[in-house]
Subunit: 297 residues, 2 copies
């Protein structure tokens, strides 16, 4: 339990970070922010947040700093660069990274911070912008148990399912497993629906039958439906899965484990990125198969 | 609608066929059977079924003949061989094949039967022996619409969801899509749980977290749980998926469509068969990854 309302910091105010920071403020926490793009801080400033010029300055003023920045390298910069958190944060403060990044980077940064007496948790989430807004995220946490217990009340302002998975990186390993299972399932849905269509069946009808049986999944439900309706517009960006599957494969390489289906999905996503579809909904995965076989959209 | 209770025939009295034939008899239909292994007919004889010496003799006595024999080649033999259905069945009678076989074989046999005025439906099922016993199978049907309407009351004695998907083979294409989506999802579950374990996490805990999120599926629920508990004993035979994924790949080859994840799953299943695990539960798929990486069971 936190003994008093600590001063919090937030770095990364995008589609996920912004509603998360606002949810913490709703619970009465004082908030400081650092934004690489100043305009992204506007809604937070309107709600009463203070703005700092560097991650180091922000960290100097806070007990807990949350980061939600896109890539592993972004987090590493924000944490360890010249003006990074490490150069401002006090001993005993905590860095909570909630983006999906490499567990190997988590361990490296956690070690560097620990040398200065700064604690860290990796706490990637599942649930998307909707879950962030409604404070119903699932949060998978890695780090020391006593640090987890200390930060848990803050995480409870952001999500509903909050699980401590193990030491530094364990939250990210869990998230990587989640994204791996999810992406391979989406590829299976894409192959099944592309095959149905190519064989002259009505994909909508096949989708309905599959959803009524043992092949049913949340992925087939949501992305499969979009594949059938060919709604490849904005949704859940395909590029995020490209990044996340790469993390799972990096982890597998490090662990000495073959992940043949994930490797295939990565190749499909490479093609998808090459076709400039990274910001389309992940259901666009089906078009990689179709394009390869010359099927008209 | 059938005008009167027709005489029915049943070939293939295994774990699926036996309860299906008994369910038809419960509705008052007269039943004749042909069994390659005479002992498998015993429960049917006890219930009042007549036994015939060849598929041709059985077909000569029936209006509708159901077949539930394992492989495409078994069905082709039972239908077209020297003592096959085609040499006994009357014009206007119907052959209903309910095993999962190649749509290409379905079309070939349907054409041969049609030349003698014999109708055919492909009607593969989903639901397993439990679904067969409780008459709650999902049945995916291909063939002429008027033949489907004629046979539908019989199928309603066997299943709950009965859908006409299109012309000859369309039921099998749908089933192939189902098995493809399901098998690739199972491979994704295996890779995710193997990675979790290899990285030192508790697979049971990871499974629980994944089931609470967007990676949730019926496959992850059932097979994933068995992977976690390492219950690879009798269940749903892995060899059936080996056969079914091969059908999907054959279909894709014929249709000119790449199915890269299905191709990978087929290779994993080849290895599984090589390890003599074809009659273990399909969840044993995870051991192919583990063995490759030298993980101890």
């Amino acid at each position: 339990m936190m003994t008093a309302q600590p001063r919090l910091g937030f770095i990364g105010l995008g589609a996920m970070g912004r509603p998360m920071a606002l949810n913490l403020m709703k619970h009465g926490y004082q908030m400081g922010v650092y934004a690489r793009q100043p305009q992204s801080a506007a809604p937070l400033i309107a709600a009463g947040a203070a703005v700092y010029k560097t991650p180091a300055e922000l960290a100097a003023a806070c007990e807990v700093v949350f980061t939600v920045v896109t890539a592993s390298s972004d987090f590493e910069q924000v944490a360890l660069d010249e003006y990074g958190i490490i150069h401002g944060a006090r001993a005993g403060s905590v860095v909570v990274d909630m983006e999906t990044i490499s567990p190997l980077v988590v361990r490296r940064v956690a070690q560097a911070l620990a040398a200065r007496g700064i604690d860290m948790l990796d706490a990637p989430v599942s649930g998307g912008p909707m879950g962030a807004q409604s404070a119903s995220l699932a949060i998978m946490v890695g780090g020391k148990p006593q640090v987890f217990e200390r930060i848990k009340p803050l995480l409870e302002c952001l999500g509903k399912t909050i699980v401590h998975m193990g030491d530094h990186g364990a939250g990210q390993v869990t998230k990587a497993c989640n994204q791996l299972a999810l992406s391979v399932t989406a590829q299976g849905a894409a192959e099944a629906l592309a095959l149905a269509r190519r064989c002259g069946l009505d994909p909508a009808r096949v989708h309905e039958v599959l959803m009524g049986g043992f092949a049913a999944s949340r992925v087939l439900d949501l992305f499969g439906k979009r594949m059938v309706e060919r709604r490849f517009g904005p949704g859940i960006d395909a590029r995020f899965y490209h990044k996340d599957v790469a993390i799972a494969l990096e982890l597998a390489q490090d662990a000495g484990l073959p992940l043949p289906a994930a490797a295939i999905v990565k190749q499909q996503l490479n093609a998808l990125m090459g076709a400039g579809e990274g910001t389309a909904d992940f259901s666009v995965l089906i078009r990689v198969l179709e394009r390869a076989a010359g099927t008209q959209a």
